[in-house]
C-alpha cells in the first residue's frame, strides 16, 4: 500500500497512542505495586519511597515459586502430548488425506465453539470417578482434549501445504511411511510445531477456570490461580496484588519477547492457510 506523507505521520502518531494505551495497565500495575502495601494506593505516580520489597513479599505470600513449579508440571504434561497427538492427526488429515477426513475435521473444529463453562461440571465428576481430581492430571487430560481442535486444525493446515511431490519422491525411493514422516515431514513442520508449542504453553500457563474447579489445593494450580492468595475475604492488599500479578505475567511475557519474531510469523502463516 502506498501512503502519502500525511498518512504516514498520522499513522505513526496513532500507533504510538495505541501502543501507550496497550501498555498503560501494565504501567499502572507497576506504579501500584511500588506503593506501601498496607494502604490504598493512589493513581499513577512514581512513589517517593518505592517499595521494591512488595515484590518479595508478594512472591512469598503468593507461594509463587511453588506455583510456578506446579504450573510447569501441568505444562510438561499438556504440551508434549498435545503436540504429538495434534501432529499425528494433522498429518493423517493433511498429508494422508484419510477418508471422511473432512467430516473428522469438522468434528474437531466444532469443539472450538464449546465454552469451557459448559464442560467444567461434567469434567469435575469425570475426574472424580477417574480418581484424578485434585491432581495435575485432572487439568492435564481435559486441556489436551480441549487443545485438539485448534492443534489438529493448525497442524493439518501446515501439512496440507507440503507439496505432494515430496512424499511421492520418498515413496518412490522405497521409504516407509514412518521414515518419510520422521526424516522429511517432521523437520518441515518444525516452525509450525514450535509456534503451536508456544501458544499451548501460554494458554496452559494462563489457565484459570479449570484449575480452580478441578484442583482443590491452590498450591497445585497454575500460576494464574495464585492471584487468589492475595484476596482473603477480609484482607486484600492492592499493592501486593499488583506486585503478584506482575510477577506472574513475567515468564510468559519474557518467553514471548524472546520468540516473538518466529512466533508471530508462524502464527500468521498458519492462520492464512485453510
Amino acid at each position: 500500500m502506498i501512503a502519502s506523507r500525511t498518512e504516514r505521520v498520522l499513522g505513526i502518531l496513532l500507533l504510538s497512542v495505541a501502543a501507550i494505551v496497550t501498555l498503560l495497565p501494565l504501567i499502572s500495575m507497576f506504579s501500584a505495586a511500588l506503593q506501601p502495601a498496607d494502604q490504598n494506593p493512589t493513581g499513577l505516580t512514581w512513589p517517593t519511597d518505592p517499595q521494591w520489597g512488595n515484590f518479595a513479599t508478594a512472591f512469598e505470600t503468593g507461594h509463587v515459586w511453588q506455583l510456578m513449579g506446579s504450573s510447569l508440571v501441568i505444562v510438561l504434561g499438556v504440551v508434549p502430548l498435545s503436540l504429538v497427538a495434534a501432529t499425528l492427526a494433522g498429518f493423517a488429515l493433511g498429508s494422508l488425506q484419510v477418508r471422511f477426513g473432512r467430516g473428522i475435521l469438522v468434528f474437531f473444529v466444532l469443539g472450538l465453539t464449546i465454552p469451557f463453562e459448559a464442560l467444567i461440571i461434567p469434567l469435575y465428576y469425570q475426574a472424580q470417578s477417574m480418581g484424578t481430581v485434585n491432581t495435575p492430571w485432572a487439568v492435564i487430560f481435559p486441556l489436551i482434549g480441549l487443545y485438539m481442535p485448534f492443534g489438529v486444525f493448525w497442524m493439518r493446515a501446515h501439512f496440507i501445504n507440503v507439496p505432494r511431490e515430496l512424499s511421492e519422491a520418498a515413496r518412490v525411493d522405497g521409504a516407509s511411511l514412518w521414515r518419510e514422516f520422521r526424516s522429511i515431514q517432521l523437520p518441515l513442520a518444525a516452525p509450525a510445531l514450535s509456534a503451536l508449542a508456544i501458544l499451548l504453553f501460554i494458554w496452559t500457563w494462563n489457565q484459570f477456570l479449570l484449575p480452580v474447579v478441578l484442583i482443590a489445593d491452590p498450591l497445585q494450580r497454575t500460576v494464574a490461580g495464585a492471584l487468589t492468595f492475595f484476596q482473603g475475604q477480609y484482607s486484600l492488599s492492592i499493592p501486593l496484588l499488583n506486585a503478584g500479578a506482575l510477577i506472574i505475567i513475567t515468564p510468559a511475557v519474557l518467553l514471548f519477547l524472546v520468540f516473538q519474531r518466529q512466533f508471530i510469523r508462524a502464527l500468521v502463516q498458519g492462520a492464512v492457510k485453510g
Binding site: 467430516g103 468434528f107 473444529v109 465453539t113 491452590p218 484476596q231 482473603g232 477480609y234
Partner: protein
C-alpha cells in the same frame, strides 16, 4: 483463550447424526449421583490424645492467620501432632467445600460458614458423642445452637456438627476525633440518636458511615438495622431454614427501609459499590467516616491506625433501654465425616476452647471471644483497648441473649447470588427496602424449597 476456526465443510450432517445418537445414549443412561450418604468413620470416641505421630490437614480461608498460630502452639505442646493448612479464598472454599469433603482424602478440619447440604449428604462428622465425652454442656447452649442441625436440615437444634475457632461480635466503631469535632461526646444509645449523629456529620461535611458493597460488607449495616426491629427468634428461624419461616417479615422490611433512608440522605460514600473490604477498612483507618459497622476481627488494625481515637460499641436498639441485638457467629469449622483422625482433631478443637494459651491467641489475633466454659477465666487484654470492648460486648450480648447469626450464612448461595447484588441496589437507592426483602425471600425459596 482459544483462537481460530476455518470454514465449514460438508460433513457437518455426519456430525449432527453422531450428536443425535450419542444424546440418546446419554439420556437413557442411569441418573448421576449416589443414593446413600457417605458413612462416618466408625471410631471409638476417646478424649485422650494419642502419642503416635499424626499429620492433620486443615482447609482454611486466606487472610485468617489465627489457625496458623493455634496449630503452631498445639504442635509446641504436643510435638507428635503436626498440621498442614491449605488456604483458598473464601469464595473458592465455599464453592469447593462439598467436593473436598466428599473426596477420598478430605481435610480433617474445614472452614465451613454454612452447613448447607453437607449434613444431609453425610459429609461432616457428628460431634454429639464428643459433646458428652468432653462435657461441653458447660458451654453456653446459645453459642452452640447455630452449630447444630437436625436431620431435616434445620439449624438451631439437633446434632452438633461444627465448632468455632473464636466467636465474633459486630458493632459500630466510632472515630472519636471526628465525633469531638461534631460535639458528640458519647456513643448513641438509640437508633434515633445514631441518626441524629449522622445528620450532624453530614451537615458538617463529614462522611457519616464508611461502608463498602463491592463484596457485600455493607450488609453489616443492613442486618444491624433489621436486628433492631425484628423478632429475634423469628429471624433466627429463617436463618436456620426452619420450614415456613420467612424473610419478608415487617421487622426486616423496616430495617431495610431505614437503610434506604440513609442511602437517600447520602450517609454512605458515593462510590460505595466500588469499595471492597480492604478499601473500606483502610479508608476508615485513614480517618474517613464517623462510623463504620464492622466486627471484632478488625479491632487490632483499627487500634493500630487510630490509637485511642476510636471506640467500639454495640449497635443501639430502637427503643431506649431495650436489650441489644448483635450479629456474631462462630468462626465455624467442621470435621470431615471421613476423616481418619476424628479423635485427634476433636481433641484439638476442645483444646482451642479450653487451653489458656490457645484462648489468649484467639483474643490477641482476632479479638473474638474464645467461647467455651464461661466460668473459665477470660484471657488478659489491654485495658481500654478495643479488644477489651469487644470482649465486654460479647459478654453483654450473651447476658442479654441477643446474639444472631449473619444472614449471609442462611444458605450456601444466598450471599453471592442475592444478598450482595440486591444490597448493591439498595444502598444506591435503586430499590426500596420492601423490594430488597422480597427478592431475597424469593431466592431463599428457590434454594431451599426442593
Amino acid at each position: 483463550m482459544n483462537t481460530r476456526i476455518p470454514r465449514r465443510r460438508r460433513g457437518a450432517s455426519l456430525a449432527l447424526i453422531a450428536i443425535a445418537g450419542l444424546t440418546g445414549a446419554a439420556l437413557t443412561g442411569c441418573a448421576p449421583g449416589s443414593a446413600a450418604p457417605t458413612a462416618q468413620n466408625d471410631v471409638e470416641v476417646s478424649t485422650e490424645l494419642t502419642s503416635d505421630p499424626v499429620q492433620l490437614t486443615i482447609a482454611d480461608e486466606t487472610g485468617f492467620p489465627v489457625t496458623d498460630k493455634l496449630t503452631e502452639e498445639f504442635t509446641k505442646q504436643h510435638p507428635n501432632v503436626t498440621f498442614t493448612i491449605n488456604r483458598d479464598t473464601f469464595q473458592n472454599l465455599t464453592a469447593n467445600a462439598p467436593k473436598l469433603l466428599a473426596s477420598s482424602t478430605p481435610p480433617d478440619l474445614i472452614r465451613l460458614p454454612t452447613l448447607g447440604d453437607t449434613v444431609r449428604d453425610g459429609l461432616v462428622a457428628n460431634l454429639d458423642p464428643y459433646f458428652d465425652a468432653y462435657g461441653w454442656d458447660a458451654w453456653p447452649a446459645s453459642q452452640l445452637a447455630p452449630l447444630r442441625m437436625t436431620d431435616e436440615g434445620v439449624r438451631g437444634s439437633g446434632s452438633l456438627y461444627q465448632l468455632g475457632l473464636g466467636y465474633s461480635i459486630t458493632g459500630i466503631y466510632m472515630n472519636t476525633t471526628l465525633a469531638d469535632q461534631l460535639g458528640i461526646d458519647a456513643p448513641p444509645q438509640t437508633l434515633a440518636e445514631l441518626e441524629e449523629d449522622m445528620a450532624k456529620a453530614k451537615a458538617a461535611g463529614v462522611l457519616p458511615i464508611m461502608a463498602g458493597d463491592k463484596d457485600g460488607v455493607v450488609n453489616f449495616v443492613v442486618q444491624a438495622a433489621m436486628n433492631q426491629y425484628v423478632d429475634k427468634d423469628q429471624f433466627l428461624s429463617w436463618m436456620f431454614n426452619e420450614p415456613g419461616a420467612r424473610y419478608d417479615e415487617s421487622g426486616n422490611v423496616e430495617g431495610a427501609e431505614l437503610v434506604r433512608k440513609w442511602a437517600d440522605a447520602g450517609y454512605f460514600p458515593s462510590d460505595i459499590n466500588a469499595i471492597d473490604y480492604f478499601t473500606f477498612t483502610s479508608r476508615f483507618s485513614a480517618g474517613e467516616g464517623l462510623f463504620t459497622f464492622n466486627g471484632n476481627w478488625e479491632a487490632a488494625n483499627y487500634q493500630k491506625a487510630l490509637g485511642s481515637n476510636v471506640e467500639f460499641f454495640l449497635v443501639p436498639p430502637a427503643e431506649a433501654g431495650a436489650d441489644h441485638v448483635a450479629m456474631g457467629a462462630a468462626n465455624s469449622f467442621s470435621v470431615a465425616a471421613k476423616s481418619p483422625h476424628l479423635n485427634e482433631i476433636v481433641y484439638f478443637l476442645n483444646w482451642v476452647h479450653t487451653d489458656p494459651t490457645a484462648r489468649q491467641i484467639i483474643v490477641d489475633v482476632t479479638g473474638a471471644s474464645p467461647g467455651g466454659d464461661p466460668a473459665q477465666e477470660l484471657p488478659s487484654v489491654e485495658a481500654g483497648s478495643l479488644i477489651e470492648n469487644a470482649l465486654k460486648m460479647s459478654a453483654q450480648i450473651g447476658a442479654e441473649n441477643g446474639q444472631v447469626d449473619f444472614m449471609a450464612n442462611t444458605t450456601a448461595g444466598i450471599y453471592a447470588g442475592s444478598i450482595i447484588p440486591e444490597s448493591q441496589l439498595l444502598v444506591t437507592s435503586q430499590i426500596t427496602g420492601k423490594e430488597f426483602v422480597d427478592r431475597v425471600q424469593k431466592f431463599y425459596e428457590s434454594e431451599v424449597g426442593e
